[in-house]
């Protein structure tokens, strides 16, 4: 798709106090892409995600959604913009005092005119989409880690967001569950037309679903490559990126 990018990150600096985690991040995320944020451990992938979803203010630069500056906007406008996001946190971050159904229902309760009965129907659909039908009245502590992630995904999708953010969705899952989650992500993208941003370092996922991506380097504290992961693997001039994508194995040439 051409035209304006959905998300446009310009000259972003991420800082804690006077310690810069990453500097000069500039990249675009196109509508409908599955965009992968990758990099070695501790390079600030999850921190970048927190900047994109409004949990941490950048030291410099801004993030533009459909051309509109996110951090330059006032709090109210920023909240309105963030209603277009769905976020799946690393551990699911389900509200532990509520059942799965209540977790998914809360965003609907706050931001939709649905009646309680209609809400219950929507909740049932969302939980069914992630394969958790029948677990409506379970509490988060009563289900497994993989199920928590899926329930978190159902909650992230509650308001039919345009943009879905995932923080390491397949971390801690067995290979089959991880594969199933990847398939689910692709299906959601295709059926909802959502743009998807994923933080991950699972190579299998990166190649299976990533259309585009950015590579952050912990040592140089900036991005060292952008583009599609396959393209990076073949053509990236930076040896570190190629080594990362090959899991450190020698290049065969």
């Amino acid at each position: 798709m051409t035209g304006q990018p959905r998300i446009d990150v310009r000259d972003l600096d991420m800082v804690f106090g006077d310690f810069a985690v990453q500097r000069n991040l500039t990249f675009q995320i196109n509508t409908g892409d599955v965009f992968v944020i990758m990099g070695d451990s501790g390079c600030g992938k999850s921190t970048l995600l927190r900047h994109l979803i409004g949990l941490q203010r950048p030291g410099r630069g801004d993030v533009h959604y459909d051309g509109e500056a996110f951090w330059a906007a006032d709090d109210e406008r920023r909240q309105a913009m963030s209603r277009r996001f769905g976020v799946l946190f690393q551990s699911g971050a389900l509200w532990s005092s509520m059942t799965l159904a209540e977790n998914v229902a809360l965003p609907l309760q706050l931001y939709s005119p649905l009646s309680p009965r209609e809400r219950a129907d929507v909740v049932r659909l969302k939980l069914a989409l992630v394969g958790l039908r029948g677990f409506e009245n379970h509490y988060p502590s009563e289900i497994s880690g993989g199920m928590k992630k899926r329930a978190g995904l159902a909650r992230a999708m509650a308001l039919d967001p345009d943009i879905l953010f995932f923080d390491e969705p397949s971390a801690g899952l067995d290979p089959l569950s991880a594969k199933r989650l990847d398939d689910l992500i692709l299906e959601l993208r295709d059926s909802l037309g959502a743009t998807i941003v994923i933080v991950t370092h699972e190579l299998a996922s990166i190649f299976a679903i990533g259309d585009n991506g950015v590579f952050l380097c912990a040592d140089r504290r900036t991005m060292i490559a952008t583009g599609s992961p396959r393209d990076m693997l073949e053509n990236c001039p930076d040896a570190k990126v190629r080594a990362f994508l090959r899991r450190g194995e020698m290049e065969t040439q």
């Binding site: 963030s82 996001f85 976020v87």
Partner: protein
């Protein structure tokens, strides 16, 4: 047998001979000799041919040697070590020490620590004031528009901090009444003024003890629970999840907790008054020559509605103090299990401290006003 010997070879080379068994349980030889031995040496070779059984104590000693050599730029030949130990060392040496990780050990002087904690204390006060301001703003939302929290949460909180606190409040205030009556009975009996035990108990309970004891029980019970709940939610990214949905933790978590305590503390205080008078009555019946009717009549005459109103009004304020200190510490808590424990402790200490301070201020204030 000496486990380490330094031999000067020809042409400025040094041979470090290691011998015997190197086991952790036998300790590791000191490395005081390393630096002098390296003085003016061009190359170093380690000879471990005489090493018997070895474990990581050998590797850790050699690592010190290797680091000393690296600092001087002296080449070091480790091929004479047992094969396993040489490999172990190669792994340890492969990644050089990362400098500037920001956690270097550094001795800090008394003045510096004093300064740092003063700055920190200033920040804490700022945080607290900011939090109270935000809490007040959230409270105002209750009246201007529908504040965003779930009614079912409020109902559950009311049950937890109200109804479920009844047993402990019963025991504490009944005993409080008993104790006051005992203390009074012994003194007043000397003047034959037994009946005034009723005055003592009801005035003390109504104006002070019921409100303070209820608040302290709630600080330990409910304030700690608030801090732990919210702190654990912080660690599990649950607060972040609220925030990305545009739900303020202030409205969704803090406001219902404040409301629950503002509603429940005065009710518990009234109940504590009742129990306190009952406690006094038990002592009066058992120890003194006072009838039930006489005691109750005396009680009725002794305390005015104003006395009760003062105690109940204070307890609402104490409820706010407990809720604010619990929620503030929970929100501020770090993202680890230790941080949640710390937050809980601070919440209880801060709650009790401010209850007593506020009560002192009220005492002075009411004295000036002549209430």
């Amino acid at each position: 047998m000496e486990r380490v010997t330094f031999d000067r070879g020809d042409a400025g080379s040094l041979i470090v001979r290691l011998a015997g068994d190197w086991q952790i349980k036998d300790g590791v030889p000191g490395h005081d000799g390393v630096d002098p031995a390296l003085e003016g040496v061009a190359q170093v070779r380690v000879d471990g041919a005489a090493v018997g059984a070895w474990d990581s104590s050998l590797a850790s000693w050699v690592l010190v040697l290797a680091e000393a050599c690296r600092a001087r730029g002296t080449p070091l030949d480790l091929s004479g070590l047992p094969a396993g130990a040489a490999k172990l060392l190669a792994v340890a040496i492969a990644v050089p020490e990362r400098k500037g990780t920001g956690k270097d050990e550094r001795r800090t002087g008394f003045i510096e620590r004093l300064g740092r904690s003063t700055i920190q204390a200033g920040r804490d006060i700022g945080d607290t004031v900011g939090f109270i301001g935000e809490a007040a703003r959230a409270f105002a939302l209750l009246f201007t528009r529908r504040a965003r929290f779930r009614g079912s949460d409020l109902a559950l909180l009311i049950q937890e901090c109200g109804a479920e606190a009844l047993p402990i409040v019963t025991v504490i205030s009944l005993l409080m009444g008993l104790i006051l009556a005992f203390v009074g009975a012994v003194q007043l009996a000397q003047f034959g003024a037994d009946i005034y035990v009723a005055n003592l108990v009801v005035i003390a309970m109504a104006r002070e003890m019921a409100a303070v004891m209820t608040a302290i029980v709630l600080a330990g019970r409910t304030g700690a629970a608030f801090a732990a709940q919210i702190g654990a939610m912080q660690g599990n990214e649950e607060i972040d999840a609220l925030q990305t949905l545009g739900i303020s933790a202030m409205e969704f978590l803090v406001l219902p907790r404040m409301l629950a305590l503002i509603l429940m503390t005065p009710l518990l205080c009234i109940y504590a008054n009742l129990m306190g008078v009952l406690g006094g009555l038990i002592v009066a019946m058992g120890m003194l020559d006072v009838s039930v009717n006489g005691y109750l009549l005396q009680t009725q005459g002794a305390a005015s509605l104003g006395d009760f109103a003062i105690g109940i009004g204070k307890s609402a304020i104490f409820g706010i103090i407990v809720a604010v200190s619990g929620c503030l510490q929970g929100i501020k808590a770090g993202r680890s299990a230790a941080a949640v424990g710390q937050a809980t402790t601070t919440a209880v200490v801060m709650g009790i401290l401010f209850i007593i301070v506020a009560d002192g201020i009220f005492a002075v204030l009411f004295n000036i006003l002549g209430w």
